[in-house]
């Protein structure tokens, strides 16, 4: 692991737990670099996560208080901890299946209540840990373990969902935009109230393999090709394109 971030990682940890080419590793580095930029004390931070690959981003790796909770419930746990000790800087990190499928209700209610949390959703559009089943974010037509003939249902536009729920800050960037993503996370952390960053993250093992993108490198290239910064978006992009940028609180 890179020496620059060693201080942010528990000394016992030597390597990341993710599959080769998993975007969650990139996101992990991006989050830690954002905290490093802000020069925040990790002893004042609490990282809450749920079940799934993204739940492992902070737990056990981050050298801070970490609370690895139940599937979907991370935000509810974080709400209790934050309300009781407002001095804690609380960040929730989870996957799309965790935070937006099983945990969707907690997500929108925390946003509605404007609890001072920063939620980073690592969206790889699939249930990775359980073996590649469809999530509420799997694009229409994509193949998954539970949609062998292609996903018949539309995915959530998470940023629109959170905007509707009243989040103070809403942004979406892919992990292939590390600079923008880092700046976005910094902004989310420093804004008081409920803030949400969707980090689009490639899952070569479960999503790529099932959708004929076999190599991690190809996943990255594909993701790059499908990201359209919102300033350059014409509004005529197809449903397979990912509009990135800050949507609320820019």
């Amino acid at each position: 692991m890179t020496r620059a971030l060693r201080g942010y990682i528990r000394p016992e940890i030597e390597h990341t737990p993710f599959c080769p080419g998993c975007g969650h590793g990139s996101l992990m580095g991006t989050i830690l670099r954002a905290i490093d930029d802000l020069n925040w004390d990790m002893d004042e931070m609490l990282f809450v996560s749920g079940i799934g690959c993204a739940g492992w981003i902070p737990s056990p790796h981050f050298n801070a208080d970490t609370l690895h909770t139940l599937h979907g419930r991370a935000i509810a746990f974080a709400t209790g901890a934050k309300l009781f000790n407002p001095a804690l800087k609380v960040m929730v990190i989870g996957g799309d299946g965790d935070l937006t499928s099983i945990g969707g209700n907690h997500l929108i209610h925390a946003a509605r209540r404007d609890i001072d949390l920063t939620v980073v959703c690592a969206n790889n559009m699939i249930y990775g840990m359980t073996g590649g089943q469809a999530a509420s974010t799997t694009p229409l037509g994509c193949t998954s373990a539970t949609t062998p003939a292609g996903n018949p249902y539309r995915p959530f536009d998470l940023c629109k969902l959170l905007e509707g729920a009243g989040a103070r800050y809403v942004a979406r960037f892919a992990v292939t935009q590390p600079v923008e993503l880092r700046e976005s996370i910094k902004k989310a952390l420093t804004i008081e109230g409920f803030t949400f960053v969707e980090a689009v993250s490639p899952c070569p093992t479960q999503f790529g393999r099932r959708n004929k993108i076999d190599q991690a490198a190809d996943m990255i290239r594909t993701l790059q090709a499908h990201c359209v910064p919102r300033e350059r978006a014409t509004g005529k992009e197809g449903p397979d394109m990912i509009i990135t940028g800050e949507f609320v609180g820019a």
Partner: protein, 99 residues
């Protein structure tokens, strides 16, 4: 679904394409030509843009004391993301031989 491997940092400099020649925007054209020349002539040489370092999912790319990008192969899982996103094509993936 194959896309052009340009990260947003590089894309900030404009890429030359046919449409640019049909316009009278000479200043823009000149800037684009310079950028294209820089990209072309700089191929295969790392200019330490840090993209691989920022994107490496295993956090095993770093800069040494002299600012040179180094890869800690002990923790590299060989995913090839760095190679795929390097705007200079400066990272080549080689299959490891079993000894």
């Amino acid at each position: 679904m194959k896309g052009y491997p340009v990260c947003d940092i590089v894309a900030a400099e404009r890429k030359l394409n046919a449409a640019d020649f049909e316009r009278d925007d000479w200043a823009a054209l000149e800037a684009a030509a310079v950028a294209e020349a820089r990209r072309c002539l700089g191929s295969y040489f790392c200019d330490a843009c840090d993209l691989c370092l920022l994107l490496c999912p295993d956090l095993c790319i770093t800069r040494d004391e002299e600012g040179i990008i180094v890869i800690d192969y002990d923790y590299c899982k060989g995913c090839g993301v760095c190679s795929a996103i390097c705007p200079k094509g400066a990272i080549e993936m080689i299959t490891e031989k079993r000894e």
